[in-house]
């Protein structure tokens, strides 16, 4: 039987109940036998649908004429800004990191900005979402490294500066990405938790200030996640052979 249950979802913020570590994942909205869909997955779908809808509506009428729609201008500004940031950070002239950075940035930004909707639980405040995003980066690092420097160049990274550092390098490969997921999760969870604790004491105006601060933190976190993904992916570069100047 398909069961739809929104009751738990709605009474959570109203009682100002302090929420636990993985509580978003334990609130089941849809249930079909043993299969269930929790709030995190549902909200991820909402965010994905929103991004797709905006992108589709904007790119439907692209124009280079004098009259350019507002949405096109806004998205062009966003893409150009992130392109400049990614290229400056990675030091590459090609836009190879732009797709990954843009995808991560848009998804996390929309997730974090939608927290101002009272009953929206940001998917980024769940460890499963942030670790999935970190897994994307974890796969992207060897992909870009092998693409740019070859397998040899990628494996050489592990025995630099001395082969003695091999275990340390392998650990840091895992934990740098792990820390990325944990950082996003920690920031978003602390924002959500602080707002819910505060709304238990002062239900009216005071949580608003914290939510506003949360919007700022959320956008900075989205920027940092995308930029760190670019930094880690571009850590292995093509060996630059210095040109011998012959006169």
């Amino acid at each position: 039987m398909l069961q739809v249950d929104f009751s738990q979802w709605f009474d959570l913020p109203q009682k100002g109940r302090v929420i636990g570590l993985n509580s978003f994942d334990t609130i089941h909205v849809l249930q079909y036998g043993d299969w269930y869909i929790n709030v995190t997955i549902l909200n991820s779908w909402v965010v994905m649908a929103l991004i797709t809808l905006i992108a589709w509506l904007t790119t439907r009428h692209l124009s280079t004429a004098q009259h350019v729609s507002k949405w096109q201008t806004a998205l062009e500004a966003l893409v150009l800004w992130l392109q400049r940031e990614a290229n400056e950070t990675s030091g590459s002239r090609t836009n190879q990191y732009l797709g990954m950075a843009m995808g991560l940035f848009c998804f996390i930004l929309v997730c974090n900005l939608l927290t101002f909707i009272p009953w929206f639980r940001p998917p980024t405040a769940s460890l499963s979402t942030t670790m999935a995003l970190a897994a994307v980066v974890f796969i992207a690092i060897p992909y870009f490294a092998i693409k740019n420097a070859g397998i040899k160049g990628y494996l050489r990274k592990f025995i630099e500066p001395v082969p003695l550092m091999l275990p340390m390098n392998i650990f840091s490969e895992f934990f740098s990405v792990f820390a990325m997921g944990l950082r996003l999760f920690g920031n978003m969870l602390s924002g959500v938790m602080f707002a819910s604790i505060l709304s238990a004491f002062v239900p009216f105006i005071a949580p608003l200030t914290m939510q506003t601060l949360g919007l700022l933190t959320g956008s900075i976190q989205a920027y940092i996640f995308a930029l760190l993904a670019v930094v880690y992916s571009s850590s292995v570069k093509e060996e630059i052979v210095p040109e011998i100047i012959t006169t």
Partner: protein, 89 residues
């Protein structure tokens, strides 16, 4: 004092200590990093954008230690494995 009370008291005490002591280092480090970045921006206003983006990334990396402390604090408060041990006994 039964085991529930001991576990509860130690958890809250540990979480507070963890958060308080754990954030000292990261706060001092972030302050130093931001001060250095502001100084560099004042000296070279042309490079301000680049310095700012690097500063944000550095701050995020420095913040990680405080976030680890926060995660441990949350774990001791909300997902404490010793609660289940005490309940099952």
């Amino acid at each position: 004092m039964d085991s529930y009370a001991i576990i509860g008291a130690v958890s809250v005490f540990g979480a507070c200590l963890c958060m308080g002591i754990g954030s000292i280092g990261s706060a001092l480090g972030e302050g130093r990093a931001a001060a250095a970045a502001l100084q560099a921006m004042a000296q070279q206003p042309d490079e301000a954008n680049r310095i700012r983006s690097t500063m944000f990334v550095t701050l995020a990396m420095l913040e990680t230690t405080a976030l680890y402390a926060m995660l441990i604090a949350f774990l001791t408060l909300y997902a404490n494995p010793f609660w289940n041990y005490a309940i099952n006994q």
